[in-house]
């Protein structure tokens, strides 16, 4: 690294101690690069830069209203959007495929299921059975895999079983029931290539279709399959922030979304012979440090992992800072949110990088591919490499920890099941609070942190504060959760920040006004909550006083998730537009016409106060329509 001042130009963060820490680092992070990337291309922002063929890039101006091929702004925008949604969907479908395969292989090998309740639930949902848990798990995983591998012209079977019937009806009428999920990604990619589809509305409907397959399989089912293998979430208190890093241990940070790949390794790390290996090099043992969504998921299921899991340190754009503490000895990557920016930091601090799925192969990582049959051997290889790295690096690397950062007592382990249990086994108490107005409405705040919507977690945290002050309870999932909890909104004391009515509810129940459902995959759990609430009241989902916000949406995956939200009929707030405003048709359909199609609607606003007011207005309208 060179001698330039890295601290002079970091972006703002909602988490002030973190902002100060990053500004003082002797190395560069994403937060430092925001300034040098400040000049954004106006055509790109509006989605009217087309690079699909050698004639391009074509841009739209008054003098050049069409690309060379004749594509209008509407065509360019919707083609680009469909590409992004197909890619995002593909990412989540990859995750559910591997999760289902791991469950299937565990069933065949008669391995351990930590969540038998979740298995029963899936059997009931799918209408499958088996003579024992192994056969049941085999049938469940096969049902998912069979659907994923169907061709595009054969509809998937589980959609009807998983979906809320009134929604299924709407989707059927709109002709957006998905065929095989992998084939749908393929179809989407084909359709948006050059000189093929040029019908913007047709492509937007494809986005909704991909949203459904992403939501039901990539989000919802991944959670439920994970519950079988990894154990179901249980409500508990847990620490968050850089404080969780304990330098007395050999610390491993895992990044990605495919937690079932770590089942074997995780078990091994606490077994006496492996702990003895750690002790032999001077550490007390091994710890996993939570980061990004895989960390959120470990935190969610933390009740099952108290020995190995230290706590959640931070979200996607905190990962560079976590590594810069020097307290992490190895990073194991298997999916996204493994920023390229961690590579030079790992090199400099001699942090071992190992990749177990080549979709997330980092330039300087060693590739130890996860295959179920070889998992025993692979775990040993990984453990030995990490021990070697620890021995090599610890004497050389100066630690720069931030032990005061974060909060000790955060409520976690919230899921559609554990929350209902907490409420006494039914949604009635929550519905009663909503009807009485003690809780004005529900906002699902999801997605990542991006650095340009005011800075790291800035819009998300400010929006959440505004919402709870309006007596709107917030449910979170994704990296936004990691930012919100590091800013202290998930400790019970945060009730003080809520409006008077919500504050009283929180105090009575001993809960914070923001409930954390964990990783972005758990957006699927939020949507189960929405479905079950609608079912309990006897209405359709769009009628609920419920809104979604992906204030600091970051990736193509978020766009695919967002399309699920729209298919469900939910109002979806985004802090920055998804590169579509160059098309009047796309903007009109997404922000207005969608209301008549699915009930959903995109609301774009980058100001926390205004956004909260817009979302409150939607909630009040829905309340009025329900006469409550």
């Amino acid at each position: 690294m060179n001698e330039s001042c890295y601290g002079c130009s970091t972006c703002a963060s909602a988490d002030k101690p973190l902002e100060g820490f990053i500004a003082g680092l002797p190395m560069e992070t994403s937060h430092h690069r925001v300034e040098s990337q400040e000049t954004k291309c106006g055509f790109g922002l509006q989605g009217v830069c087309c690079r699909l063929c050698a004639n391009g890039p074509c841009r739209i101006t008054p003098e050049s209203p069409r690309g060379i091929c004749g594509a209008t702004a509407d065509v360019m925008v919707t083609r680009n959007l469909l590409r992004a949604v197909a890619s995002g969907s593909g990412c989540y479908i990859h995750v559910v495929e591997n999760t289902a395969l791991n469950l299937r292989n565990t069933a065949i090998e008669k391995g351990k299921f930590k969540g038998p309740g979740a298995l029963e639930r899936l059997c009931k949902l799918f209408g499958v059975s088996g003579k024992d848990d192994y056969e049941k798990a085999l049938n469940v995983s096969n049902a998912v895999l069979n659907d994923l591998y169907k061709p595009e012209y054969v509809k998937m079977d589980l959609v009807e079983k998983m979906a809320y019937p009134p929604r299924f009806k709407v989707w059927k009428e709109l002709g957006i029931l998905p065929g095989g999920a992998k084939s749908e990604v393929f179809k989407g990619v084909v359709k948006c290539s050059t000189n093929l589809n040029s019908d913007p509305v047709n492509m937007l409907l494809d986005c909704l279709k991909l949203g459904i397959s992403t939501g039901i399989y990539g989000l919802t089912l991944t959670n439920l399959l994970n519950d079988v293998l990894l154990g179901e979430p249980e409500i508990r208190m847990a620490p968050v922030g850089l404080r969780v890093i304990d330098p007395d241990y050999i610390n491993i940070m895992i990044t990605g979304h495919q937690h079932t790949m770590f089942v074997h390794l995780q078990e091994r790390l606490t077994e006496p012979d492996v702990v003895a290996k750690a002790k032999a090099v001077g550490a007390k043992g091994f710890k996993l440090v939570g980061c990004t969504c895989v960390g959120q998921d470990l935190q969610l299921r933390g009740a099952h992992y108290t020995e190995i899991f230290d706590g959640h340190a931070g979200n996607n754009y905190t990962s560079e800072a976590i590594l810069a503490t020097g307290g992490i000895d190895a990073v194991i990557s298997e999916f996204n949110c493994t920023l390229p920016g961690i590579e030079p930091i790992c090199d400099e601090l001699l942090i071992k990088q190992i990749c177990v799925d080549d979709v997330a192969k980092k330039a300087n990582a060693e590739y130890v591919p996860f295959t179920f049959a070889d998992r025993g051997k692979q775990s040993e290889i990984i453990i030995d490499k990490i021990i070697a790295a620890y021995k090599e690096r610890r004497p050389k690397v100066k630690l720069n920890l931030l032990p005061e950062h974060g909060y000790e007592n955060n409520l976690t382990g919230v899921s559609e099941v554990s929350l209902k249990k907490f409420l006494g086994g039914s949604w009635k108490p929550l519905i009663d609070l909503i009807v009485s107005g003690d809780i004005k409405g529900v906002a699902g705040v999801v997605g990542c942190s991006s650095l340009v919507a005011g800075g790291h977690d800035v819009l998300t945290v400010a929006l959440v504060k505004e919402l709870i002050a309006k007596d709107i309870i917030v449910l979170t999932a994704g990296c936004s959760s990691g930012g919100i909890e590091n800013c202290g909104l998930m400790v019970p004391e945060a009730a003080e920040l809520a409006g008077p009515k919500l504050k009283a509810v929180c105090k009575k129940l001993g809960i914070p006004p923001v409930l954390n459902f964990g990783p972005c995959l758990a957006i699927g759990r939020l949507e189960i909550v929405a479905t079950e609430l609608a079912e309990a009241i006897g209405i359709d989902i769009p009628q609920l006083p419920l809104v979604l916000s992906a204030a600091q949406w970051l990736e193509e995956q978020a766009l695919a998730d967002g399309c699920f939200g729209l298919a469900l009929g939910l109002p979806l707030h985004l802090g920055l537009p998804p590169f579509v405003t160059g098309s009047k048709v796309a903007t009109q359909v997404l922000c207005q016409d969608m209301k008549a199609l699915t009930g959903g609607q995109v609301i774009i606003n980058g100001d926390a106060k205004e956004s909260a007011e817009l979302l409150e207005k939607v909630i009040l309208e829905k309340r009025a329509a329900l006469k409550i």
């Binding site: 000049t39 291309c41 106006g42 055509f43 922002l45 509006q46 009217v48 841009r59 739209i60 101006t61 008054p62 003098e63 209203p65 702004a73 920055l576 537009p577 405003t581 160059g582 774009i604």
Partner: protein, 151 residues
């Protein structure tokens, strides 16, 4: 006085400056996300000229020391402002004779495409305290503002 300088070697023809100029001079308030890129009323006040071989020349008003456009204008619509040295246009006084268009040696004054009833020229973003928006938008630093001696 301040003047925009160009380095044609650095320009890659991205037209980011063009979008910024359109945004800076739009009639309706809004952000770059809702700037109507198809609306002729939002025309930019400069041009990026391509040589057809992948090289570009950003052409910006030079706010000349002795501006031919001002000299040609008989109605007094174009004036070199004494304090800033910038050539400014007063639409209300303009007779739409387009003598200025004919006389600018750089081709920098142009009739507006939407109505053909006035001219469009660079006003050095006089209403923006941060100065020319095109300059701030250029990712290549191919254009910049420099203080020059007035002769």
């Amino acid at each position: 006085m301040k003047r925009i300088f160009i380095d044609r070697e650095k320009c890659d023809g991205c037209k980011n400056c063009t979008v910024a100029c359109m945004q800076a001079h739009r009639a309706t308030p809004g952000t770059v996300y809702d700037l109507d890129l198809l609306d002729r009323k939002n025309e930019a006040r400069h041009t990026i000229v391509s040589d057809g071989k992948g090289r570009y020349t950003p052409v910006f008003c030079r706010h000349c020391a002795v501006p031919d456009c001002v000299g040609a204008c008989m109605s007094g619509a174009l004036k070199k402002e004494p304090d800033t040295g910038h050539v400014q246009y007063d639409e209300k006084r303009c007779g739409t004779c387009f003598m200025c268009v004919m006389s600018c040696p750089y081709g920098n004054v142009k009739p507006d495409k939407a109505t053909r009833s006035k001219i469009l020229k660079c006003d050095f973003c006089k209403d923006d305290p941060e100065g020319p928006n095109c300059v701030r938008a250029c990712p290549k630093k191919a254009i910049w503002v420099e203080e020059v001696e007035v002769l």
